[in-house]
Symmetry: C2
Subunit: 670 residues, 2 copies
């Protein structure tokens, strides 16, 4: 390493950040200036990574949970040699750049996860650390360590105020994630100013309550950072919190230590005096060669990955099947016999023709799926017996110190829905596992922004939402979803699938596992639904989002009843009553709007012909949005109020979910 | 008190709970059986309440955050003499009963808040305790203490796993809420079973980190409960956590201590052997007279309230104006000159005709509102400078020990959106304050279930959501709302108001403060919008949710452009371009769907005549749901993907939010 002081190396981060924010006249210089010294030590002395290959399986994971400090991460990636040229830094926060306002996975090489909504990065990191632990348990063998990396997370006061930090860190402590190291930017400032009126936690004590190793250091003292990381690594059975006292906007003579540095450019003048104060004599966006050289990690990174590749080769020689499986899993490819397996299961459901709750069909499927798709990693936010997400003899993920040599595949997330969503994002981002997580549909509310980030990051997380309507009964309005279905459908890049019976449930699971580009929400009943009469066409149709389940008898249809999930039975009963009145009505089962809309126009019009304007849709949910299919002329039967506590059948009936309502509505369209 | 043992008094709760759950064959007996001894001591020895008047202003507040234990609360209310006869207990969880599955405010007398979604009750309690503290600061005078009560909260492991418990309890510690007492049902069990694999927090240490007083006791030992409550009351400057070791399903010979007692009836046989084991010889739903007498609180409660009424009388003599103000506030009536005041402000905005961001209009309004409406209690989840929610010289709510004699009206919630929503519910439920809370619209995701509970409980909480579209610019897709507007509109009993300019913003605030029956979300821009040309009619129209802002020139309109918020300017520009092409187009500004749909049909048809099917709606959000107004023939211009990081104008333009898009869409309808 050339003879450049650590302080100057850190100052490179500070000035790239200040200059980029100044150029954009938008952004957050305070955090990068405050955490630069920590980042410098971590990246120059500890991080295992290869700038040429951000996808290297055994790299350390680095997460900036306080994502507004994105320029810190972009500076690190640029300086160490990732494909992020200076031009990109100059275009920070501009259209088409690879340097968006907050770090985005998939946009910038080396950005492990999308952060900005506070606290979630910590939970992503917990998910990554669990994935590392279980993959190591699953694949490492004596003398062969192919999975062995750390997860480093940066977080600020905001992250630690958010509730999700509690959910994730509490579970991380229980699980004893010794390779998770959290750097807390303890700068005493948030947007509203000094924290004394709203955040006075003794955070170390709080984390000791979670069974973490904790320490407090001066975040501007590299030796202290080194000592802390060494101590963190020396503790294999507990995650470590390193609370780093820092000064936000460190180096700015007039603004350091103030919330003014948090979310706005410092101003040309202040940047100039900061240059003087820190002895940084170079122009904006200029980094002298010796500083580049000191930061450059390309050679060391390449060497590190090559050493690992050699270990992988040795592993492949001794365990060829395991090695192939490891590579398949890290590449995110499904098992070769996947489609065959799933179609077999679907056929079994079709033959069985059983009437049951779709949550139970789902539970039944899982028992087969987990045997054939070993990357499936299940879990539930403390509702396993209710949402049928736990298969027989599921191996539970427990603390490291107890499970070396075995590996867990089922995580009891506890009553932590939001944490579950963000941890599942972490599993997916890490690669190696395909997570699903269960809770009641109503509690999708608790995890909503985590689910949104699955969609934004294109991560194929599977959400299992049971107890999907007022049909759940006695638990009452606090537990009965009303607006949740339309609210989920409104999220871009999320596929919502609400099956009507066992076959549709099986198809939904196949689609969910096949999905590679975004999350899928399976929406399941608590109560029984009828078994539909299927043909090859209807099974194929179920995978297209909507299909003609039952054609009008005795001639061309004159109208359509559209339904999803438990209300498909109602539509079929209404069709029969209408037939008795001489009305020829088609029934369309529509488990998924998103899949249906992805079909070609020909198919769509074959299911919902333009000319058939007499349409009644029915769903035991807020009908918000159904006008898309029924138009201003048709009728959407739904719910526009909150639920009631009573047995499910009673509530359904009192809310009008009986065939007669459909018949009446249809006839009113005449 | 007749000579009945405390244990038998507690057993009355146990058997009422077991019997009711058994009769319903649905419900949660485990918690009431476990917490009965704690509840018995609290209610018989400490609770200040009057069963004849559940609305008595100075009653102690009692919150069951682990709301599945509703039968505990119903038993207490029944036994102490509330209007909740045995018939209601026999109809637990049945249609039309006052004993729904989870406690519901407004349904059962004495139920202070609706709980069930875990953790929120704690935050409701924190809100109530802050309301008590600030009302006491505001209204009590030397020798006159008219506000002086405690807030008691029951909570379980689930509540303490939820992130919101962190948000609320951290802030409660910072604020030193000495009159908040939290009983933690430390029974080591959640639905999935024994907690050791998913929840091993040292909760006392965690709460010490929050600066709470903490203690651990045997929850089945009444003397220990008494000692703990005494110690809690002796500490005026810290909230107290009493961790009570209990046995879930206490008393059941074969199921006590197991998750089996949590959420299902014990079964006839087990209830029978539990009767034997606890020496409870009576039939289901029979409580012997001596036990009723020992529980009966009607006389003592009446006397307590009368003593307080006498104090209020004395206060009224010495401070007649303050007393009148106190009563007005607790009754939830607006100041008499409210409408006049607000109309004055609206006129000022109309005269000023200023072009500005609607968040800034809102901030400007607040400075006037808070002077004229003293019950307004503001706050923000750490975004005060950005969402313009903090008025000049707002008195900040700080720890009790520092503010006696003054009172705060602005709460820095910290980065705790969900906690903020649930605390605001607590403020409203307590009465005396009208809370509003600000954050970015995107973070409505974080608080969604709290907002839902505002709506379910009909509480007039005001949500101030700024940065309401991709127009916020550089912060990028993590911060740019897309699906949030339709998702909020889908919530029953929530009014969403997205104003287009200063006048509409002022009208929105008037409506929000007038709302008595549910929450209102004000949805505001980060960026400037134009000042609309208003008439008396348009101002009146803004209060009806939608109105003809600009009529087609030169004859009857042949089509309609509908827009909300910042896109109204676009519609006006498109109207002009279309007029140049000879097209007569009406522009409708639609700040609120809910208000518009509450208008009579005549008004609705006057704004959107049935015959005018040529309709284009535009909103910089997911257009999900707009088919309601444009039908299958019209066109809704919106967004079906996530946003991008770039300056706001650029993003708007790149996403097609320019007048030409509207013109083209309109012309395509030809």
């Amino acid at each position: 390493m050339p003879d450049v002081s650590r302080r100057q190396l850190a100052n490179a981060i500070r000035f790239l950040s200040m200059d980029a924010v100044q150029a954009a006249n938008s952004g957050h210089p305070g955090m990068p200036m405050g955490m630069a010294d920590i980042a410098e030590v971590l990246w120059n002395d500890y991080m295992k990574h290869n700038p040429a290959n951000p996808e290297w399986a055994d790299r350390d994971r680095f997460v900036v949970s306080n994502g507004h400090g994105s320029m810190l991460q972009y500076s690190l990636l640029h300086l160490t040699g990732y494909e992020l040229p200076m031009e990109e830094l100059k275009h920070f926060r501009q259209w088409g750049s690879r340097t968006p306002g907050h770090p985005e996975n998939g946009v910038t090489p080396g950005v492990e996860t999308t952060t900005g909504p506070l606290g979630q990065g910590i939970a992503n990191g917990v998910g990554m650390a669990i994935a590392e632990k279980e993959l190591a348990n699953e694949f490492n063998r004596d003398g062969h360590t192919i999975v062995d990396h750390y997860t480093y997370v940066f977080a600020g006061d905001g992250c630690l105020m958010e509730g999700i930090s509690h959910e994730a860190c509490s579970l991380a402590g229980t699980l004893g994630l010794g390779k998770l190291i959290l750097f807390y930017d303890d700068n005493g400032i948030s947007i509203d100013g000094e924290l004394e009126d709203w955040f006075t936690d003794d955070t170390l004590k709080r984390f000791e309550g979670y069974e973490w190793q904790t320490m407090a250091i001066d975040g501007h003292n590299p030796d202290a950072v080194i000592k802390a990381i060494e101590a963190a690594k020396a503790e294999p059975n507990k995650p470590t919190l390193i609370a780093c006292k820092t000064t936000i906007g460190y180096g700015s003579p007039n603004k350091a230590g103030s919330e003014e540095t948090h979310g706005a450019a410092l101003g040309e003048d202040e940047v100039a005096v900061t240059r003087q104060a820190l002895g940084w004599q170079w122009e904006p966006f200029h980094v002298p060669d010796e500083i580049y050289q000191a930061w450059d990690t390309r050679q060391a990174g390449q060497a590190a990955e090559e050493a690992w590749q050699a270990r992988l080769e040795a592993y492949r020689r001794d365990y060829p099947e395991l090695a192939a499986e490891f590579e398949r899993r890290m590449a995110g490819r499904l098992p070769e016999d996947f489609t065959e397996t799933m179609n077999g299961i679907i056929s079994e459901f079709r033959e069985a023709g059983a009437s049951d709750a779709t949550r139970k069909h789902s539970g039944k499927m899982l028992n087969t799926i987990v045997e054939r798709v070993p990357e499936v990693l299940g879990g539930s936010a403390d509702l396993a017996p209710s949402n049928n997400t736990k298969w027989k003899d599921a191996p539970i993920i427990t603390p490291s110190r107890e499970t070396r040599g075995t590996h867990g595949r089922y995580l009891h997330y506890g009553v932590r829905e939001f944490g579950m969503a963000a941890m599942m994002n972490g599993f997916c981002l890490h690669r190696g596992y395909r997570p699903y997580g269960g809770t009641f549909l109503i509690f999708s509310d608790y995890m909503r922004n985590g689910l949104r980030l699955s969609a934004l990051m294109h991560q194929p997380v599977i959400y299992v939402f049971t107890h999907d309507s007022i049909g759940l009964g006695e638990d009452g309005p606090t537990h009965q979803p009303i607006e949740q279905l339309p609210s989920l459908r409104a999220i871009p890049n999320l596929t919502v699938y609400r099956p009507a019976d066992g076959v549709e449930t099986a198809v939904g699971w196949r689609l969910a596992l096949e999905a590679g580009d975004g999350p899928v929400a399976l929406v399941l009943t608590r109560q029984k639904t009828g078994a539909l009469e299927h043909t090859d066409e209807t099974v194929a149709g179920a995978a297209r989002g909507a299909y003609v389940l039952s054609e009008a008898e005795g001639g061309d249809p004159e109208g359509i009843l559209i339904a999803s999930g438990s209300e498909v039975d109602l539509a079929l009963a209404a069709q029969k009553q209408l037939a008795e009145q001489g009305k020829r009505v088609r029934v369309v089962s529509m488990p998924s709007w998103e899949l249906f809309e992805a079909q070609d126009e020909g198919y769509r019009l074959s299911v919902l012909p333009d000319g058939l304007a007499k349409r009644v849709a029915v769903e035991a949910a807020e009908s918000f949005g159904w006008e898309r299919y029924v138009g201003r002329e048709g009728r959407a039967i739904g719910i526009h109020r909150f639920g009631e506590s009573a047995p499910g059948d009673t509530v359904m009936e009192k809310f009008g979910f009986v065939p007669e309502t459909l018949v009446e509505a249809y006839n009113e369209l005449d």
